[in-house]
Each structure stands twice: as structure tokens, then as C-alpha cells.
């Protein structure tokens, strides 16, 4: 009798752990440390956003419509977009802004390393909707002049940070 009870307990514990693991596996990567990005961005937010001439245009316009399933794909794509398309235009900006942008770029590297295993494990699939959303963002960026687009994209880092917090840090349910 006692052995049966013990075995049942063990089975229940294993099931529970599996569910938790599955839940954690559902979200890949499990978390994203955006604090360094936040601190650096706070320094240049005013300057960057002040230089944004096209205020009625937004590049990251469709992030609110991204489904939770596509969060991992979008995260991976956006990180790559900023690293390849936006951060390389920092020399055209002022020195202060350039320095902070470099710091932000350095903070993006560990974030990419966090997401990479998910892709390898095929835990970060990209649906058609995710692919379509990514294509829209790139089109918005391309419609603007390079420098303005870069400035606008840097200025919208706070949007990106808020979206990350919302999806990865559910405790901090921010806007």
C-alpha cells in the first residue's frame, strides 16, 4: 500500500515537472534581459526622438498584432534587423548618441545568443503571419531616407523594449 502511494506521488511529480518544462519550452527563449538596453536608451531617447522628423510614420507599427506563437520568431527577426540595418548608421549621429547606440548594440549580442538555441531546436518556428509582419517593418524602414529611418528606428527602441517586456516578462505587464 505504501509503495503504491509512493509510486503515485512520484508519477504525479514527474508529470508536473514535465508540464512545467513543456510550458517553459513553449516560450523560447524563456527570458530576455533588456535592462542594459533600457539604461542606454534612456540616455539618448530625448535626442533621438527629437530628431525624428517624420512623426506620423512608424516603423514598428504592427507589433501589437503579433501572436504569442510568433513572438520567438519576431524577436529573432527584430534583433537581426536592428543589428544589421539600424546600428550601422550610428556614426552619422552625434557623438553622444553614437556612444550609447554602441552600448545598445553590445547589449543585443547576448540577446541573440539567448534566442539562437531556440532556432536550432526548432522551437522558434516562423509562421506566415510572422514573416509578413517582418516584411512590413522592413518596407516601412525602406520608405524613409536612410538617416531618418535610422533615427526613427533608434527612437522606436522603447517600443521594442515594451514589446519584449510584455511577451517575455509577463509580470511586468506594460503598455
Amino acid at each position: 500500500m505504501k509503495m503504491q502511494v509512493v509510486s503515485l506521488c512520484l508519477l504525479g511529480t514527474m508529470l508536473f515537472l514535465c508540464s512545467v518544462h513543456a510550458r517553459s519550452l513553449k516560450r523560447c527563449p524563456p527570458s530576455m534581459d533588456m535592462n542594459p538596453v533600457k539604461e542606454s536608451f534612456q540616455e539618448i531617447k530625448g535626442a533621438i526622438q527629437a530628431n525624428d522628423t517624420f512623426k506620423n510614420v512608424t516603423i514598428l507599427s504592427n507589433l501589437h498584432s503579433i501572436k504569442p506563437v510568433d513572438v520567438c520568431c519576431m524577436t529573432r527577426e527584430l534583433l537581426e534587423f536592428y543589428m544589421k540595418r539600424v546600428f550601422k548608421h550610428r556614426e552619422e549621429l552625434s557623438l553622444q548618441i553614437s556612444r550609447e547606440v554602441s552600448s545598445i548594440s553590445n547589449s543585443f549580442l547576448p540577446l541573440q545568443r539567448t534566442v539562437q538555441p531556440c532556432k536550432k531546436q526548432s522551437l522558434c518556428p516562423c509562421s506566415e503571419e510572422a514573416i509578413s509582419a517582418t516584411r512590413t517593418i522592413i518596407n516601412n524602414y525602406d520608405q524613409l531616407e536612410v538617416r531618418s529611418a535610422a533615427i526613427k528606428s533608434l527612437g522606436e527602441l522603447d517600443v521594442f523594449i515594451a514589446w519584449i517586456d510584455k511577451n517575455y516578462h509577463s509580470e511586468t505587464s506594460t503598455a
Binding site: N56, S61, E156, A162, T172
Partner: protein
Amino acid sequence: MLPRLLVPLAVLLSLRLGSDAQGTELPSPPSVWFEAEFFHHILHWTPILNQSQSTYYEVELLGYGIEPWKAIPTCNQTLAQSCDLTAVTLDLYHNNGYRAKVRAVDGSRHSNWTTSSTRFSVDEVTLTVGSVKLEIRDDSIFGTIEPPRPPMAPAGDMYERIFKNFREYEITVHKMPENYTFTNKKVKHENFSLPTSGELGEFCVRVKPSISSRTNKGVWSKEVCITITRQYFTPTILSTCITFAFLLCVVLACLILQLYMRRRGKLPSVLVFKKPSPLSLISQLACPEVPDTIHHLDEETVLKVSPELRNSELHGSTDSGFGSAKPSLQAEEPQFFLPEPHPQAGGTTGQGEPPALENSCSGGSSNSTDSGICLQEPSLIPGTRPGWELQVGSNGQDQDDSGIGLVQNSAGQPGGPQGSSALGEVSPLRPELPGEEDPAAVAFQGYLKQTRCTEEKTAKAGCLEVESSSTDGLSPKFQMCLDTEAGWPPPDLAKGYMRQDPPGMTVLPSGAPAGQWNQPAEEWPVLGLTSCSDLGIPDWSFAPDLAPLDCVAAPHSLLSSFDTDLVALPLISSLHTDE
């Protein structure tokens, strides 16, 4: 040709510029920014230089990424430098932010737009605290932080919902009046506790909120102060005092109850028998006496008789053995109360004959009823005055209901002629009471109070035969038999009350052996007979001559008196009248 065209062109250009200058004369506001708290979004701008009284500012708002710009007409107020845009920016906490622009307008002139430097987003909201409540709990300050509750906030947009986690509060406590920082700590909940370590005084608390996952700035709340004073009446102390008071009341109640019970158990004064005092004894001596007759007795007779007299219980008998006073015969006023005349006895027995002996018990003040049993042993000391005397029908005041009163013979010697006559008078007393007896005498109720030892003795003298026949055992019998022989030991008389026998039975010739007298005493142990022997010689210390006189009455005289009862009656009556 060209120079001719230049002049009109210049004029046109100057006119154009002038018009433009007129439309854009006004400088644009230098800066535009948002100052926002939780659902309290205020757009500020700096005024333009050289603004007139009619200058007002136009505001337009743009949701980031949402076209077009939206004019806010409520902000078009003269000389205003700020505008509340909360109502049009309610989605601030759910979208990417807003952009606002302002321009000055004065009449037909207006300035350029000035756009807010940064995109107005949730990051620019300054965190505040609604209120702080403090209370003292067990030597510590317990605080509750209330988040802001702005009226413009939609129903579901509460501070705790928007900033669900990582809410932190920095708390600073200043102690007044020294105004030094008592403590500074950070808490992660809206409730906090600050131990004061027993310090007293005024403590002022300020709180600054923050979100650890955000870069939002926070502002210090208003200072809230609380004073800690020494509490003398804490709940603990109060409860302890109440408990002690309750226990004290219980103890007092028990003590009072105990005292009350003891008081109730106190013996009633009626049942308290007074010990005979010398004074009472002396008063007994002053009782009226018949002329003394000196009876000479042998010493042996006295000794023999003395115990009998003591046991005679002429005064009072306590058949139950309680409270028998045994004063000396001398002390008592020897009064033998004859019992109420038995119908057979002819009413001779102690009708209220106040027994002299009884006075010692009652102190001459009693109209005591039969319930007052008082034993007063007659002083049997021979030769001393007064001797036991029979008081027939006298001293109603002293009489017992059924006791035979024997007046102490002044002569003191029962052996003498007078004593014998007195004793002889006793003999017929029982069977026949003189008619002259005190009308106040208690009627015979069937029991004679054996009060006098002499009474007993006189009875015994002639009752040797009666005793043998009347020994019923339990019923106490008074024996008025006269003692004939001095040699016989005084019989033990029953204490208390004796049933009165018919007169004939009482008159008996003497001559019975002395030992017979002892029988009644032996047979009536329950009655607690006090025989004359109880009246020991020590009791007759001051009246040694009296005791034997009564007990050892001249048997011959008594017997003769018994034989001549008729003769004795007038004698008794005469005695009574004389008295």
C-alpha cells in the same frame, strides 16, 4: 529689359516676404514637453516672446504611427502655457505613445509648430503614491501605501494592473524634532513595518514608488507623521489588571461567605449556660430561710452522704447530661420545686415549689420553663448555714415547672430536729402539696425536676422501698423518700425530670439498705443522674456542714414525718407562709 523686370520682381518678392513674415511673425514656442503622472497627462510649452494679450496656442496630437494629427481645441486658451491631454491620451499605457505639437496664434498670425521633443510614452509617466497611512502596532510602525487613484483612469486601468509586478517603494523615516534619518529601506509591497526599538517621539514617513523593471521616475510622497508615546494601559496590562481584580473579588466573596457561615453556627445564647459565679452563690445564701436548726452529724455520715447529695440534682437535672451547673449548696438558694401534683399524688408534689437550689441555676430570676434545665447541687456541708430547706409553694419566681424546691436549711444540719422537721416537711411535699403553695407554681407535668440533692436525700431516706418498686428503668422518678439512716450512701438521683409517683409510693419507710439508693442511679444512666455523690466534698469547700445535713437527714425525723404526713403538711405550709 532685365533690369526693368528686376524692380517689379523685387517689389513682389518684398511684398511676399512681408506677407510671409506677417503669417509667421510669431515665433514658435521654444519647447513642448509632457509632464505626466498616472493618468494625469499635461502638455507644457514655453510661451513665445513678445506675446500679446490675444495670443493663444493651438495644440495637435498624434498617436505614434497613427495619422493624422488631431487638433485639441480645448487647449486654445489665451495665454495658456499648458493643457491637460489626459482625456485624449487614455491609451498611453497600451500603445506606442503620442506626439504633440504646439503653435502660437495671435489674430491672423501664427507661429510654426513645435513638436514635443520625445515621443510621449508610458516611460515618461512619473510614479506617485496616492496616500500613506500609519499606525502603531507592538512597538513598530505599520504602514499602508495606497496607489494613486486618478478620476480620469478607466475602470480597468488600475495602477496595480498596469504595473503588475516589480513595484517597489523607498521609505524614509525621520525622527522629530531632532530631524535625523531614523531608517531608510526599500520594500516591495504596499504594506510595511518599521520597528521603532522602543523609541518614543514623532516619526515622519515619506515614500517614493518605483518600478524595478522600468526607468520611470518616482516622486516622494507627502510626509506623514505619527507620534509614539509610552502606553501605560496596554491591552496586556489591562487584561492582567482585570484578571487580578476578578480573582480578588472571588477571594473576598469566599471569605465573606465563610464568616457568615461561622456566625450562623454560633450557639444561641439561650443554650449557653452560665457558670455559677460566687456572687450568685452569695445571693443564694440570702434567700429567706426558715429558722436554722443545727443538726449534728457524724463526719462519716457527711462523707457518705455527700456524694449522694451531689448526685441528687436537686436543682436541675440534666438527664441528657448537658449544662448542669453544680454550684455549692451554700451558693444556691436551696429551693426545691415540687413537681406539679400528680392526680394520684394529690397535688403535693412540687407545684411550683421554688426550689432553693434552683436559684443557683436561674439566679433567682427565672420563671424558667421546663426547658431550662438547671442543675444546682445543694451545698451539703453540714453545720453551715444555710441548710437546705423546703419551700413549699414559695418562690414562684424561681420555681421550675416540676422541680421540687427545697429551701436550704439555715441550720445546716439535716440531722437536727429542725432540719429533720424541715426535711420531714419535705416528705409529704411530694405526695401532697400544701394548698398554700404558690399559685404561680408551675403545674405538675408529670416530671419532677430533680434539682436538689437534699430533696433527693430526704426522699431517699424514706424511699428505699419505693425505689425498689419504682425502678422502671428509664423513667426518671423523683423519690421523696427521706433518708432514715445516715450510713447509707447518697443515692444517685436522676437528673432532669422524674415522673411523679403517687403519693403513697413516695412515702416509704427508711431502713432500706444504702446500696439500694445506688440502684436508680445505675439504672438510669441515660438520665445522667447526678447523685449526691457528685456533690463531692470539694464542692462543699465553704459549706462543709451543709451538705451532709441535707443528704444525711435525720432518718428518724424524716421517717416520722413520713408517717405523720398529715402533720408535715401543715408544717410545710407553715413554712411556706412564714416565708
